[in-house]
Every structure is written in structure tokens, then in C-alpha cells.
């Protein structure tokens, strides 16, 4: 986790959870804070990876929900994944 935090600190990263529709970028790190998500940090990290969110993958926010721009539909390489902004905060992109 500490290596990831260094990466996160050294580059101007944006959490995917704050990006708007139309954003395109690359995943810099998966960094799960132990905050409000309903899952333990390690479990959330594993689930994100299982859906293809790994460092280096390209992402694009395709759609946003009607209320509070949440959830978001993210194209990750060839697949499209729906997730909430709260969980997307763990995905750092540039």
C-alpha cells in the first residue's frame, strides 16, 4: 500500500469518483482508503481488480446517473462496468 501512496503523491492524480462524463484516462493506482464503503478495503480492492481495474488500464466515463451524477458507467478496455462514485474514489487516474 505504501508504494501506491508514493505513486499517488508524486503524480497529479484524480480519483475516478470525481471525474465527469467524457473523462478519458489511464489508471495510475488502486488505493482504497478505509472509509465509507460497505466493504473492507482489501475486499473492495480485490473486487475492483476482478472487474479489470488494474494499473495501466485505460478508462472512460461513458454515462452518469440522473441523480447526483451517480452511479457511473465506465468503459475499461473492452468492457463497460457500472459502479458508484463512492467506490470509484479508490481508482486514481491521470
Amino acid at each position: 500500500m505504501s508504494r501506491d501512496s508514493q505513486i499517488a503523491a508524486s503524480k497529479p492524480c484524480l480519483p475516478l469518483g470525481r471525474a465527469l462524463a467524457g473523462f478519458r484516462g489511464r489508471i495510475e493506482a488502486i488505493l482504497v482508503g478505509n472509509d465509507k464503503s460497505g466493504l473492507p478495503p482489501d475486499e473492495l480492492e480485490r473486487r475492483l481488480i476482478e472487474l479489470g481495474f488494474v494499473e495501466g488500464a485505460s478508462v472512460e466515463i461513458l454515462h452518469e446517473g440522473a441523480f447526483g451524477r451517480d452511479p457511473i458507467a465506465v468503459r475499461i478496455d473492452q468492457a463497460t462496468v457500472a459502479l458508484r462514485r463512492r467506490e470509484a474514489m479508490a481508482i486514481l487516474v491521470t
Binding site: 478496455d77 473492452q78 459502479l83 458508484r84
Partner: protein
């Protein structure tokens, strides 16, 4: 376990990510040689079948629930893990794993293949939907992919005739020799570092062997409209509205045909048999009882047709996306949308579908409210009362008033489900943060006639089986209660006044009188506890026996003459909530593993039903509809 190369000694297991077309492949391979049941002890659906290879060998094949990893997170995925690892005692350990992947979306599947390799069993990767991939310009170097993975790879097209020839040939080669022993499993639950490393390896293999063009433009263009914050929601509601109007209008001709058929059959028996007990039993107990339920088959199939089409189209995941925030406001998970939508057909598959929700609390809330969604068993009751009491008027030239009332009843069910889950979430389980909503959205695909037809046939069989067993036996009980004891000779009133049914009805009547129910309704509610639609047939039996056999064909007319509008409305309100389905309660007990939650469901629904019917009746009476 010793493995011999005899008949039926080969056991293959189909494993794959969700939306990989695994079930379509299973259907193509096994055709009608398949059995759907449950794994013992749990309600995860077990689909097994037999494949005949070109040289005539038999292979037993089992279709496992879709998963991204053997790291089980839900009951469905636990089954997949346990069968693959040979840990499930009731299941023969598979001697070959067939990993099914969507050729247009290989990335996550390749990581799963790398994980499955660690299980140590012979493995075969099937690139399904190979035709779509090729049409879209996806180029896969199959030989290289096989070499890089160290696993044989076969392309297939599950939905085309001849699309599985190569796969079946490969099955023949694999089953030609004797089964090789398993190398021994080195699988352990992967850590996030393991998963990361495996995904990187999979990505490297992808780059070396697969050329991927731009993403599917058709899906992107459709999503631009269907997932649009405003237009998307509007379209979703239009789809739901059309669905309910269709249930009412499209099914009508077929329903008329069925009811005419049963009426003719009843008349035939009436004329063929001498008047007496036997005639009454066959005509009123059996034919009109079963007929009054079977007549709703067209409506149920219309509803399932919509659900199956939307599912095959890939729209269901979009609906979950659109509804996530709205459902979240009521304390429900976006994923709960699919189980709740299925509950419109029947709460049982709906409750079973909640297994895709991995969080326990969320799953429990969904199970609690699923029976409030208007299931198809309520349609008979609603239709009967609406057609008897609501005038068949057209409003604004296009919408039928009856359809609108039906829509309002559905809306009442939805609103109360959201209300109950809101109360559960924010009063009882306030401290729990809501778990994440993460869902892969598959590309749109044209639904296949064959798979939709297979789904409809299965539903029809299930419904007719229920009509033939549960409902039929309840009808016999009702007929018996309504016919015995026989009235004394020279009695003045109708025969049913002297029966057991009337006695039970009169005992219950004081409790139900405040909500406007007469004793006939009280009688009909007793068998209605077994299944909602039985109440219609029971009312028919109660009234036809008390009013002559012709009345059985026109229950609605009789009710219109005997009930006040207020009673009819109270009856509808009762039916929005009442927990009148023994099978649903049994499934809740099984799914939650506790009598407590079954009792909670029964109790809260009964309370709501009584309050709703009470309020409706008294408001209607006050407005002059008494």
C-alpha cells in the same frame, strides 16, 4: 474416486464469467437432455445434462453459476468453487473444466483461466460468440493463445446450428483416451497482489494474441439514449407501462379461447353425467376450478416474454444502473432491481435471484419486499374484480380505464415495497453502510427465438404443473368443504349454507367483517393461503354451488351483483399485501435459513393487508360506494 472410460464416466463442468453465453452453450450442447433442479440444502439452481459426442460417447455436463473468480462471495459462487474443487459431496467431481469466454470480451475471462489452471484439472477454453467477434473485427490468434495459456482453445457459436461441431469433436478427442489423473490443486484464495499479477499476465497475453478494434459502436449509440439521465429513465418507464398494458390486451384472445374451451368441457360433462355428487365434483370442483386458473396462462406468458426478452437483450443491467440511485434512496441495492422485476412474474424466482446480492442485509431486505411486487398469481384476482367492477372505458382515446387501475395496483405494490425497505434500512439497520454496486454491462445482443421459446416453455410447464397439483388438490378440498355435509332434506336455502365451508367462513367472518368481507370471501381466503389465484376458483366454487352451475362460468357477473364497490376495492387492497402464497413463504424460509424471517414476512404483510383493506373499505363507504 476412480475414473473409468465407460458410459457416463466423463463429467465436464462449464465455468465462466457472467454474460459469457455459458447457458446458451449449455442449451446448444444438451438440447432437451437437461435437468434443472436445486443443489441439496441450498437453492442454487443445478443444471445438468448429457452431451453425445460425434462418436457416440456420453458426457455428463454441469452448468455452474457465472463467476469472475473462484474466490466465492455469494452462495452462487460458493457452489461454483466447491464443484470445481470437488468439495461438494453430493456432486461427482468433474474431470474436465470447460471455461466459457465471450470472444468479444476476453480480458477478465483470461484472468479466470489463469486462476482455473491452478486447480490442476484438465482445462479447455471455449471462445463463445466467435461469429460476433469476427464480424466486429476482433482477430484472435487461437493457436498462439492456446500456446501462451497452455490450455487447448476452441472457438464456438452456441446459438448457430453447427456452431459447436468443432467443440464436440474436441470432446471426442478428450474422451478418447483414459482420463488422466488430476495434478493436484494448488489453488488458494488469491490476494489482491495475486489478482493484480494475474490480470497483468492476462493483459500481456491479450496484447500478444488478440487484435481488438474500437468498441462496439451499436451498443455505444444505443446506450447514449437508453442510459441518458432523462431519456433513459423515461424509456424504462414506457417499457414497464407497455408491458402491463400488453399483459391486459394481448393475452385477451387466447384467454377467451381457453375459457370457452373449459366452459364447453364443463357443459359436456354436465350433459354426460347424471345430476348428483359426481357431476358436481367433476364440473364444479375439477373443470371450473382448474379452468379458472389455467385461463391466466396467456397473461403470465406475456409477462415472462417481456422479462426474457429484456434479459437476453442485455437491458436488465442497464435498468439496474438507471434504478440504482432511486432504489438506493429506499435502502435497496441497484442489483435488487432484477430480482424485484422477476417478482412481477413470481416472487419465487425473484427471491431465488437475490442470490446475486452478496451483502446479507441487502439480500434480506430484498427478500422481505419481493412478495409485495405484484406477481402473476394476483393477475387472476385483479382481472376478475376489475372486469366486474371497473367500467371498460377508454380514456384520452388510447388508455383503457381497466388497464390504468391495474397499473395503479402495480404502482401500489412498488411504492409499498420501497416504503417497507426504507423503514427496514433506516430504522433497524441504520448503522450498516450500504455495500457497493458494481456490475458489468454486456453489449446488446438480439434475443434468440430458440432460447426465449425454451424459457417460455419452462415457465408454462411450471405453471401448469402447479395448476395440476397444488391448485387442483386445493380445489378438491374447497369443493369438499363447500359440499359437505349435505343440506337436510327439505332445506330452504342454498346447499352451501349448510357446509363446512360456511361454518369456517362464519367463524372467521367477525374478524373480516370490519374490512367489508362477507363470509363467502372468508371461505375463499382459506384455500387462497395456498396460492393467490386459488381464491378466484374458490369464489367460483362457493358461488356456483350456492347459485347454480351456470354461475361458475361468470363469476364476475355474480360478484358484481353480490358485492358492493367498497367490498371489491377492499378485496383488491387486501390482495396488494396479503401473504397468501405457501410456496413463497417456504422459499423465504429456505433462502434465509430461518423460520424467524418467514414469520416476520407473514406478519408484516398480513398487518398491512388488514390495515389497507380496512382503510379502503371505510373510505369507500364514506364516499358512498358502500
Amino acid at each position: 474416486m476412480s475414473i473409468t472410460t465407460g458410459l457416463g464416466a466423463w463429467h465436464f463442468a462449464l465455468v465462466g464469467t457472467p454474460n459469457s453465453g455459458k447457458t446458451a452453450l449449455f442449451n446448444a450442447l444438451t438440447g432437451n437432455r437437461q435437468k434443472v433442479a436445486n443443489y441439496p440444502g441450498v437453492t442454487v439452481e443445478r443444471k445438468a445434462g448429457v452431451v453425445h459426442t460425434p462418436s457416440g460417447r456420453c458426457v455428463k455436463i454441469i452448468d455452474l453459476p457465472g463467476t469472475y473468480s473462484l474466490r466465492a462471495r455469494s452462495p452462487d459462487e460458493e457452489i461454483t468453487r466447491d464443484v470445481v474443487l470437488g468439495r461438494l459431496k453430493s456432486e461427482t467431481e468433474p474431470n474436465l473444466l470447460v471455461c466459457v469466454a465471450d470472444a468479444t470480451n476476453l480480458r477478465l475471462a483470461l484472468r479466470l483461466v489463469l486462476e482455473l489452471k491452478r486447480v490442476g484439472k484438465p482445462l479447455l477454453l471455449v471462445l463463445n460468440m466467435f461469429d460476433i467477434a469476427r464480424r466486429r473485427g476482433v482477430e484472435i490468434d487461437v493457436a498462439r493463445l492456446s500456446a501462451e495459456l497452455g490450455v487447448p482453445v476452441v472457438p464456438s457459436v452456441a446459438v448457430r446450428r453447427g456452431g459447436t461441431v468443432e467443440l464436440l469433436k474436441r470432446f471426442d478427442d478428450l474422451t478418447g483416451g483414459s482420463a488422466t489423473g488430476c495434478a493436484g490443486s494448488s489453488w488458494a484464495s488469491p490476494s489482491s497482489a495475486d489478482l493484480r499479477a494475474a490480470q497483468r499476465q492476462a493483459d500481456a497475453i491479450m496484447r500478444a494474441t488478440v487484435h481488438v478494434p474500437a468498441p462496439d459502436t451499436l451498443t455505444a449509440r444505443l446506450d447514449a439514449v437508453l442510459l441518458h439521465p432523462v431519456a433513459g429513465l423515461a424509456i424504462l418507464f414506457v417499457i414497464l407501462f407497455v408491458m402491463f398494458q400488453a399483459v391486459f390486451t394481448w393475452a385477451q384472445p387466447a384467454m377467451n379461447l381457453i375459457s370457452t374451451g373449459f366452459a364447453a368441457l364443463g357443459a359436456l360433462v354436465h350433459n354426460a353425467l347424471p345430476p348428483g355428487l359426481l357431476q358436481s365434483f367433476i364440473e364444479n370442483g375439477v373443470i371450473s376450478g382448474v379452468g379458472s386458473v389455467v385461463v391466466f396462462l396467456p397473461q403470465i406468458l406475456t409477462l415472462f416474454l417481456f422479462i426474457l426478452l429484456l434479459e437476453d437483450l442485455g437491458y436488465m443491467a442497464r435498468a439496474a444502473f438507471l434504478m440504482d440511485r432511486i432504489m438506493g434512496g429506499a435502502g435497496l441495492h441497484g442489483r435488487a432491481f432484477i430480482p424485484l422485476l422477476s417478482s412481477f412474474a413470481c416472487a419465487i424466482p425473484g427471491i431465488m435471484a437475490t442470490r446475486v446480492i452478496d451483502n446479507k442485509r441487502d439480500r434480506l431486505t430484498t427478500i422481505l419486499v419481493a412478495p409485495l411486487m405484484t406477481c402473476s398469481a394476483r393477475i387472476p384476482v385483479y382481472t376478475l374484480i376489475i372486469s366486474a367492477f371497473v367500467p371498460a372505458k377508454q380514456l384520452w382515446g388510447w388508455a383503457s380505464l381497466q388497464g390504468l387501475v391495474m397499473f395503479a395496483l402495480y404502482a401500489a405494490g412498488i411504492v409499498s415495497a420501497l416504503g417497507v425497505s426504507f423503514v427496514a434500512k433506516y430504522l433497524f439497520w441504520r448503522e450498516d453502510p450500504s455495500p457497493p454496486f458494481m456490475l458489468e454491462m454486456p453489449d446488446y445482443k438480439l434475443p434468440r427465438v430458440k432460447s426465449v421459446a425454451l424459457g417460455l416453455v419452462t415457465r408454462a410447464q411450471m405453471f401448469l404443473k402447479r395448476a395440476g397439483t397444488t391448485i387442483f388438490s386445493m380445489m378438491v378440498v374447497v369443493w369438499f368443504l363447500a359440499s359437505f355435509p349435505r343440506p337436510p332434506t327439505g332445506a330452504a336455502g342454498p346447499a352451501i349454507d349448510y357446509s363446512l365451508a360456511a361454518m369456517i367462513g362464519r367463524v372467521l367472518h367477525p374478524v373480516l367483517a370490519p374490512i367489508g368481507f362477507n363470509w363467502q370471501i372468508s371461505v375463499a381466503l382459506i384455500p387462497g393461503m395456498a396460492a393467490r389465484e386459488v381464491a378466484v376458483a374458490a369464489l367460483g366454487t362457493v358461488y356456483s354451488i350456492s347459485g347454480g352451475s351456470e354461475a361458475a362460468q361468470q363469476i364476475g357477473h355474480v360478484l358484481a351483483g353480490q358485492w358492493s364497490m367498497a367490498t371489491a376495492l377492499a378485496f383488491l387492497a387486501w390482495y396488494i399485501f396479503a401473504p397468501q402464497c405457501a410456496s413463497t413463504l417456504a422459499v423465504i424460509r429456505r433462502e434465509t435459513g430461518s423460520w424467524k424471517w418467514m414469520a416476520v414476512t407473514f406478519g408484516y404483510m398480513l398487518t398491512l393487508a388488514y390495515i389497507a383493506a380496512f382503510a379502503t373499505y371505510h373510505i369507500a363507504v364514506a364516499l358512498g360506494a358502500g
